[in-house]
């Protein structure tokens, strides 16, 4: 069988082997093409490992400041209301430095889609603690494990946004074909919400970072299944029609 490759992925990505970013790049590309929205799509890309995308990702793309991608996406969308506009952000970008911009885009129910890659750490800068780092997880800035008595508990964006009047919220993962297929369906629903002008949509993806977790890609997936998912349960949280 011939391998079909999305046109958006016009050159190979630059992420580490086994990284979740590569898979999500592909899922978003496929969804946009299947919806016939690739030609009008505009992406506000975050600072983080996602900053590798302007070199490889074939949609119109604005390199946002660290944390501000949702606000940049809002500026784009308000001026191009008929184009599919999305931000593509890491957990540190969206939930640490960009917490305010992330929340306020949702509070205003802006008609944008946020793709949030949650790999429980600051990947790009070498694996420091992020807001979603698990309790007791060792990182380069929590060398004895995250001490929640000092840092507060891991941040669950689905819970935070669950009370808001937004169009669609879901959390998926990438650990096997079944989960990848589900995640793709969530991404599709998020963009459909935008297309229907229903308002804000966000899909959080629990994503392996083998490099900074110090694990093989397979063990990183096992870790998500056995540990990460119990802190961050999968599924649709809003607008899923359940």
């Amino acid at each position: 069988m011939k391998k079909r490759r999305s046109k958006i992925l016009y050159v190979d990505h630059k992420f580490c082997p086994g990284c979740g970013h590569g898979i999500v790049n592909r899922l978003v590309a496929e969804v946009l093409e299947e919806m016939n929205e690739d030609k009008g799509a505009i992406c506000a890309v975050a600072v983080g490992c996602s900053s590798l995308m302007p070199d490889t990702y074939g949609v119109d793309i604005v390199q946002s400041q660290h944390g501000r991608a949702a606000a940049v996406a809002v500026g784009i969308k308000r001026c191009r209301p008929d184009n599919m506009v999305f931000s593509y952000q890491g957990d540190g970008d969206a939930l640490a430095i960009g917490f305010s911009e992330t929340m306020y885009a949702a509070i205003r129910n802006e008609n944008i889609t946020v793709i949030l890659i949650n790999n429980n750490n600051f990947g790009m800068t070498g694996g420091q603690m992020s807001p979603t780092t698990l309790e007791n997880q060792r990182t380069t800035t929590s060398p004895y494990g995250r001490d929640v008595s000092l840092t507060g508990k891991p941040l669950d964006v689905m819970k935070l946004m669950g009370t808001l009047d937004v169009a669609y919220l879901a959390r998926g993962t990438l650990t096997d074909i079944k989960e990848i297929t589900k995640t793709k369906k969530y991404i599709r629903k998020a963009f459909e919400a935008q297309k229907n002008k229903a308002g804000y949509s966000l899909v959080e993806i629990l994503s392996p970072c083998p490099t900074n977790w110090g694990m093989t890609p397979l063990n990183a997936c096992k870790h998500i299944n056995q540990v990460v998912q119990s802190v961050y349960p999968l599924g649709e949280y809003q607008g899923g029609g359940k």
């Binding site: 799509a41 390199q63 946002s64 400041q65 969308k77 191009r80």
Partner: protein
Amino acid sequence: MTRKLMKGNDAIAEAAIRGGCRFFAGYPITPQSEILEYLSWRMPEVGGVFIQTESEISGISMVYGAAATGARAFTSSSGPGFSLMQEGISYIASAELPCVIVDVQRYGSGLADIFTGQGDYWQAVKNGGHGDYRCLVYAPNSVQETVDLTVSAFDKAEEYRNPVLILTDASIAQMMEPVEFPALKDHNQDALPWAMNGKGDGQNKRHTSIMYYNLDYDNYLKNKYDKIIEKEQQWEEIKTEDAELVLVAYGISSRICAEVVEMARKEGLMVGLIRPITLYPFPVKAFEKLEKVKYFASVEMSCLSQMIEDVVMAARCRPTYPIRGGMKVYEAEEILSAVKDIFAGNAKEVY
């Protein structure tokens, strides 16, 4: 065309609309809030976008996104809020996108105070943000000039693909004067080849630091700003031809200095005035022909004399004196007495 009596801030807001701006995102702060208030009803009237943001950081970020689509985008603030915008301004300059930003100066650092001041000179003119970039900086001294420069700012921002700042102050922004506006300008974002609208059937576009893709980046950037320095200097000069002492002042200070020139001449003192209209590029050309001048004085409402560094350079290190304002707008008599001290040899040079 009819003349209207209008407050500086309202005039800025209307001028932006006339200049084809259809996107504003900003946050309230005195003495700038009338700009938001005006645009909150005026933008919808012309089919534009008005967003009251959660912060100035968010405002400048939205302006960045809007600018990427070719829209004429605008935000405004004062001191503390202008500080928050610096990261975004650096990104916008770095990506070579146009936008217009107004800083209505208030006085002081930190929380500062809401009365007029000129202490944001360094931040606006020398870059508040990181890295190599400059912003074209306009310094109006009347409500009419505020209108004219605001309209022109949108054209210049697009011409150079660079942020343009209007550095005004609480006095000019809060005073009422008669103004005339130009007709409403149409702006077609799709006419700009770099404006994002999705890749269509072509190559996708990227707005990021041009450094990544421009192999001759250093020279390119140097040439870009050299061209701005060569072409964009604007100033007004009053009685400089035979002056022995030239005052240099912008914004509200320049209005008082114009009065001082009249008063000094009546007393036989040969005083003139250079009023920079652009602060970047600083109007060095105005100084080149003034070979006879013995003294220069930088008159600014800043206790550390910020603009004086540019005056000293433009004056090629001829004797330059600070005349400092601060917690209040000067009286012309105070400046005149400082001028007399300079002539009498009783004043201290800046260096």
